[in-house]
Symmetry: C2
Subunit: 338 residues, 2 copies
Amino acid sequence: MRATTIHGTRDIRVTDVPDPTIQEPTDAIVRVVAGCICGSDLWPYRGENDITPGETIGHECVGVVEEVGADVSSIRPGDFVIVPFNHCDNTCVHCRNGVQSACVNPGATETGQAEYARVSQADGSLVATDGMPDEALIPALLTLADVFPTGYHAATSAGVRDGGTAVVVGDGAVGLFGVLSAALLGAETIIAMSRHEPRQRIATAFGATHIVAERDRAATAAVMEITGGVGADAVLECVGTDQAMQTAFRVARPGATVGFVGVPHGVELPVRRMFGRNVGLAGGVAPTRRYLPELLERVLAGGIDPGLVFDLTVPLDDVAEGYRAMDERRAIKVLVRP
Amino acid sequence: MRATTIHGTRDIRVTDVPDPTIQEPTDAIVRVVAGCICGSDLWPYRGENDITPGETIGHECVGVVEEVGADVSSIRPGDFVIVPFNHCDNTCVHCRNGVQSACVNPGATETGQAEYARVSQADGSLVATDGMPDEALIPALLTLADVFPTGYHAATSAGVRDGGTAVVVGDGAVGLFGVLSAALLGAETIIAMSRHEPRQRIATAFGATHIVAERDRAATAAVMEITGGVGADAVLECVGTDQAMQTAFRVARPGATVGFVGVPHGVELPVRRMFGRNVGLAGGVAPTRRYLPELLERVLAGGIDPGLVFDLTVPLDDVAEGYRAMDERRAIKVLVRP
């Protein structure tokens, strides 16, 4: 099959690789209907994560089940499914505790930007829609594979609550879903930090009540002014850099929690500040599967348009252009059609 | 008056200093009935915190109100009061949010090991008993000035819950109160990390169901065995060293929270582990005043004996011997009688 592979810094290709096959009786093979490029794919793209040249890249997709292993009972060939980027059995002690990202039978989508993908623990991982969804719904459903539940995890980890104030650091797709999630959880004041007009527009469409375009100390000052000098009840850190993390802690009110979902790169946590101001940190790799049923219901109920984050669609053959567009911030999030 | 002062590493003296006086109309002067030495006093004692030679030391006491400022209305001369180590107005935006340690009108007890102490924001800070307590209750009441609410803050920050598993790292007085607090909050399995037999005994009296005497990797293995390989639902970090913090994160199950109350010294938080396993961190300087009413009620109701932690009592003149005994771990906590 054709799959996206990475060969070095900013070297993305479409390559013929062996079709994925059932390896365990709990596996399923999914024909990818739509995949996409994740902000975290840009780390290896930019050479900031180690790679093995020629390895596949891409972990977000939706599609139609092609084949299932002998032990798969709840998912059938022909089902349209959301494929969470992290697979889980959804029955182990950590899954039952709501931390499916720490499943004792873990797995991950490895060919989300390709024609087919193998899913381990298909019964636990996959969530099927009732029948085939409308074509127009595909982008919204695709966000459920990673970015929407990841933004939602930032919001729940930060303890966003009804009537409270939330600050979202980061205006990538995950940050934008942090805004939407804060709105869904009832935050009254939602401050999105963004300097890019197209992202500001989506943030506002998703429920942001304020946009802060400043950075660092000026950003802190702006949030303090909006919150009457108090700081935010909940802060969503959706980037993963040290700069974003320090900003997150500076705008948090005493007793608040920073919910973090950006893979940390060079982050040094300000432990003395955390101690002195009682600002906690929670979050991590999103337990996608935990949130999937409720978020799918939200998407199907309408009234929100998560698909807005896809501002560029490319055929699989042009996936390298999709990476370039995201790297140069010409696109927020790129949908890939095999 | 006579007060404890510090002059250098391991140089504690009793010195004549000016009597504290009302400086603000919200102040009160308390005649100290009993004070004590805190584990955190050992940081400057051991030269690990900077000091100004000759400055007073000691921040925990109970006593009788001697005089109040013109604006103090709820506390009267003659009241027996618990003096929280951190003062607060208990009305500001942070106090109302339960983070009295971040009060906008902060203050701290500066002469807790002395004859008198000045308390700022007396109305907000002080909690009076109904009448004069029995002499036998004094040690238990004295724990309410700092160590008991601090241990309780570790437990609530860690999210200890009914029927859950809690690990307490640290067998100082705060750690022991972490054990007692976990028991009060309903934890079913309470694992105290302690290598010292007298402390193990108190931990057991306070509700520990298991004692782990090992350290580092061996301690982790012991906790994993007790918890069936899962890890603890809640971890209380009551030391403040990097070693204690790393142990705390290693024994936490995915999705757990480490509640920390030990002033961090050289701590580097394991952000990648926290992210990968969704283990959060919460806590900080205890909002003593927040917990005082409920903990005072617990003490007066009987059935617990917080005064157990005081295994040495010295007259004020011998306070230096009290420091030596704690420094050499011959005493768990030392009560000082002016």
